[in-house]
């Protein structure tokens, strides 16, 4: 389909025609009559053609005037379209950002749902958790005893001394019976329990069943009282009857829900976290 010529092209065409006609007319007028060609067009015809082209130009100019008005409307429409394009691009950016945020939120929510599902499948009773919490806090591993101060040799972890006297270093474990330990060191340690001490309660003579290392050093010796025997600075060693009572009990006793132990646990748990970071 041949496209129609534009108004501009038609105007150029008419102007070119007028130029040719005016040139021919001027040549005809300037040439002497003797030199005129026989087939030369008449000047009257040329002038009529020129007038016709001029009227054609005037019509085209009227069309151009109308097109100018339409062009102004189109320019306004184009500006509005560009403005909408900018808004659409801005909206697209915002939607993309929202999609990213929501994808992240959905992913995290799915992870949490998976964790909830796992927790529901592997249920743990609250009593068991509380028992473990009591056990941990009873050994003063989460908070220092109330009477602990700077310079106190007690630590929340087994010291070198305690480890040397432990069953791990000796390679044997105590029997469950009431018999004393096989090793001489332990026997010495436990023999101290039978001696009267004004500072410690010794209610438990048999080696206890322990799973925690620092529980091995339940006998408590004051520094200087037993020459030749290294002192124990067990974290559980305490001059307070309440705490020594706690540390003398075995795990099984502690799990029975000893009320005083619970009080001690509550007291110790209420303390702020231990800031003891120095080692011996």
């Amino acid at each position: 389909m041949a496209s129609e010529p534009s108004t501009r092209q038609r105007l150029h065409s008419v102007i070119d025609d007028m130029e040719l006609i005016s040139k021919e007319l001027i040549e005809q007028l300037a040439m002497p009559k003797s030199q005129k060609r026989a087939d030369a067009p008449d000047t009257t015809d040329l002038m009529e053609l020129l007038i016709e082209k001029d009227s054609e130009i005037k019509e085209l100019l009227k069309i151009a005037e109308e097109q100018e008005k339409v062009q102004k409307v189109m320019d306004g429409l184009r500006a509005e379209v560009n403005k909408r394009d900018g808004e659409i691009r801005q909206l697209q950016r915002a939607l993309k950002e929202a999609e990213t945020i929501m994808a992240t939120a959905v992913y995290q929510a799915k992870q949490k749902m998976a964790a909830i599902k796992q927790a529901q499948n592997n249920r743990i009773s609250s009593e068991e958790l509380i028992k473990y919490a009591h056990r941990i806090s009873a050994s003063n591993a989460v908070a220092a005893p109330p009477n602990w101060g700077p310079g106190d040799a007690r630590r929340p972890y087994p010291t070198d001394l305690e480890m040397r006297h432990s069953f791990l270093s000796m390679g044997t474990f105590p029997e469950t019976s009431a018999s004393t330990a096989a090793t001489p060191a332990l026997s010495r340690m436990y023999s101290q329990d039978s001696q009267p001490s004004s500072q410690h309660h010794h209610q438990h003579q048999t080696p206890p069943q322990h799973s925690l290392p620092h529980h091995h050093h339940q006998p408590h010796h004051k520094w200087g009282e037993q020459p030749g025997i290294p002192p124990t600075y067990g974290w559980q060693s305490s001059q307070e009857p309440s705490l020594s009572l706690t540390t003398h009990h075995s795990i099984s006793d502690s799990l029975k829900g000893y009320s005083k132990e619970e009080d001690d646990v509550e007291l110790m748990s209420s303390d702020s976290s231990s800031s003891s970071s120095s080692d011996e």
Binding site: S3, E4, P5, S6, T7, R8, L11, H12, I15, M18, E19, S22, L25, I26, L29, A30, L50, I51, D54, I57, K58, L61, I63, A64, E65, E66, Q67, E68, K69, V70, Q71, K72, V73, M74, L77, R78, E80, V81, R84, D85, E87, I88, L91, L95, K110, M113, A114, I116, K117
Partner: protein
């Protein structure tokens, strides 16, 4: 409209042709000058035509382009209004808030 009214003066070439014809008849020395003026007049007419706004298309083509622009504007306005005010999320009432296995997968 200002361009087209200015173009009327620029494209009014007949008086210049008449001036040349008159000078030829009178056989004066101004023929060459008038010829040069006529030539410059044609040049100015061409330059004026190139400056006319909207004449790069035919009238029919221009009307078609105008309708296309109008359609574009309507579509984009409708798109923007639908995204700003409309609801784009389909809420399934069956699984809303349900923590069953199907919804967690």
């Amino acid at each position: 409209m200002a361009a087209s009214s200015a173009a009327e003066n620029e494209l009014n070439i007949l008086p210049s042709v008449y001036e040349v014809m008159k000078s030829i008849e009178k056989d004066t020395n101004e023929v060459a000058q008038k010829m040069m003026e006529l030539k410059s007049q044609f040049q100015k007419a061409r330059e004026c035509i190139d400056r006319l706004p909207g004449t790069q298309h035919s009238p029919e083509e221009q009307v078609r382009l105008k309708s296309v622009l109008h359609q574009q504007l309507l579509i984009k306005t409708k798109l923007l209004s639908s995204f700003k005010t409309g609801h784009h999320f389909d809420f399934d009432s069956k699984t809303n808030g349900d923590l069953s296995r199907n919804s967690m997968n």
